[in-house]
């Protein structure tokens, strides 16, 4: 049963990710990315990380992608946009980056042994919270400072235009 759900969710995630990068219409791209995020959340839930699944939907599918959609609609981009011819440098750089990422993924898939049952967090928000304010407190605070800096930066950029 779980295996069936996994294969369906994974297949839909891959297909919609492909649509997200290949379709001409920007709105369809954004929406298929939403579907991808949703399917990834389903896989998180299957792994028992239900907190992560809910956070994934809440943050990515629910908040960030809505902003994307908002921008796409406000810019009112023509739905059938001719793709500009990429420069040679772009092609080479893109291929190189794709190769590095692919090799890394392949390495992880082959070399790293995942031992099941090491961290039975059970989607438990309490355990996650203890980890965040316990062993990972420094990183946690660092990220909040980073977010604050981004916030201030955004404000400065907006103010400069006026």
């Amino acid at each position: 049963m779980e295996l069936v759900v996994f294969y369906v969710a994974a297949a839909v995630a891959v297909v919609s990710a492909l649509v997200a990068v290949s379709h001409r219409s920007p709105v369809v791209n954004v929406l298929s990315l939403v579907v991808t995020f949703f399917c990834v959340a389903v896989n998180y839930a299957l792994l028992g990380a239900s907190f992560l699944a809910a956070a994934q939907i809440l943050v990515y599918a629910g908040a960030i992608m809505v902003l994307f959609l908002f921008v796409v609609m406000l810019l009112n981009a023509p739905s059938e946009q001719p793709t500009p011819e990429p420069r040679p440098v772009q092609r080479v750089a893109g291929l190189a980056l794709a190769a590095i990422t692919g090799a890394g993924a392949l390495f992880l898939l082959l070399a790293v042994r995942v031992t099941p049952g090491v961290a039975p967090i059970d989607g438990n928000a309490v355990a996650l919270g203890r980890l965040l304010v316990g062993p990972y407190l420094f990183a946690f605070e660092l990220i909040s400072v980073l977010l604050l800096a981004a916030l201030v930066g955004a404000l400065v950029l907006v103010k400069r235009k006026h």
Binding site: V27, L31, V34, S50, F51, A53, A54, A55, I57, L58, A61, G62, A63, V66, L67, L69, F70, M73, L74, D122, G123, N124, A125, V126
Partner: protein
């Protein structure tokens, strides 16, 4: 296995039917209530007190012509009402509508009148799925290929994003005090006395949540998406027949869910202070108490709609970002202090 499946199915059927039945009843209450507030009679011809009016309305909606604009984006135009209704139909499964932890059905413990008692993210699930409802509105506005729909859809999505933040922060105060994401734990903590209710201990959080709930359900005074004087009918101008009915049902279902959530988070859910009942009697009484509390908030939605004028768009954004968000943060600080000092039990 089969008995558990049967129990869950029974709970799904009971809860979903009850929620869907709220829609025609609320349509009737809204029309009669509006008439009452405006000193007229309202629909009173079909059945006693006009109670069968919603049935006739449904028949009318089914037989209406189903129009699709020629320039619409067909796929998304059909998808949008389904997203709205689909999201509204699955959010309420984490709400505990009644007690009944000591009741068993077919030899399986019932674990309360809540569809998904094992979902350990609880209210976070509701917020996450609820945040997807923006897509229904924004896609309806965009795919209709109509400037009024588009403006309505954009306004509405901006409004939902802004108020979601304040709402989530208000919920966070309750969750902090409870120390659990399970809504049944939230209810259990508020049992015993009226001053244990979160509406009393977190007045500011409750006020923020209530205002944000009005904005999230797109109701007056925040129904800018369908400001008919300037935008005709907002994001669903081009929709007719049952596709329009999908948006209509979703709005009333969201209203019912928001009322149920308010009762659960801030008004002690199905508990009655000073009364402790067990077994089936406890289940029935607590469900009745829950429904009674919920009815008050459903009426409040109608009451406010026909009493207050609509906000202007910039006023709405100002209220959300400069009013509610700081207030919700203040509530969080208060809960933190009160918990450290041991004022909250």
């Amino acid at each position: 296995m089969w008995a558990e499946l049967a129990v869950t199915t029974a709970k799904v059927v009971v809860v979903a039917l009850a929620m869907v039945t709220t829609v025609p009843i609320m349509v009737w209450v809204e029309r009669r209530g509006a008439a009452f507030i405006q000193d007229r009679l309202g629909p009173n011809r079909v059945g006693p007190l006009g109670l069968f009016q919603p049935v006739i309305d449904v028949v009318k909606l089914i037989f209406k012509e189903d129009v699709t604009p020629a320039a619409a984006n067909k796929g998304l135009y059909y998808l949008a009402p389904l997203i709205s209704l689909g999201v509204a139909m699955v959010t309420f499964i984490v709400i505990p509508f009644g007690a009944g932890h000591d009741v068993s059905l077919f030899g399986v413990p019932l674990r309360g009148l809540i569809v998904a008692p094992d979902l350990n993210v609880g209210v976070l699930y509701l917020l996450a799925i609820g945040s997807l409802s923006v897509y229904g509105i924004v896609l309806a506005g965009w795919s209709s290929n109509n400037k009024y729909s588009l403006l309505g859809g954009l306004r509405s999505s901006a409004q939902l994003i802004s108020y979601e933040l304040a709402m989530t922060l208000a919920v966070l105060g309750v969750l902090m005090a409870t120390g659990s994401l399970h809504l049944s734990d939230v209810v259990a903590r508020q049992s015993g006395a009226v001053w244990h209710w979160n509406a009393v201990t977190q007045v500011i959080g409750f006020a923020v949540f209530l205002v944000a709930a009005f904005a999230e359900t797109n109701r007056l005074p925040f129904d800018l998406a369908e400001a008919e004087t300037e935008l005709v009918a907002g994001y669903h101008v081009e929709y007719s027949s049952m596709k329009f009915a999908c948006f209509f049902m979703a709005e009333y279902l969201n209203m019912a869910t928001a009322s149920a959530l308010t009762v659960t988070l801030f008004f002690g859910g199905g508990t009655l202070p000073g009364v402790t009942l067990t077994g089936w009697l406890g289940l029935f009484v607590s469900t009745a108490v829950f429904v009674a509390k919920m009815c008050f908030f459903l009426w409040l939605f109608v009451w406010v709609r026909w009493s207050l004028p609509r906000f202007r768009y910039d006023q709405l954004m100002q209220l959300g970002w400069k009013g509610l968000l700081p207030l919700a943060t203040l509530n969080l600080v208060w809960v933190g202090i009160a918990m450290t000092m041991g004022w909250l039990r």
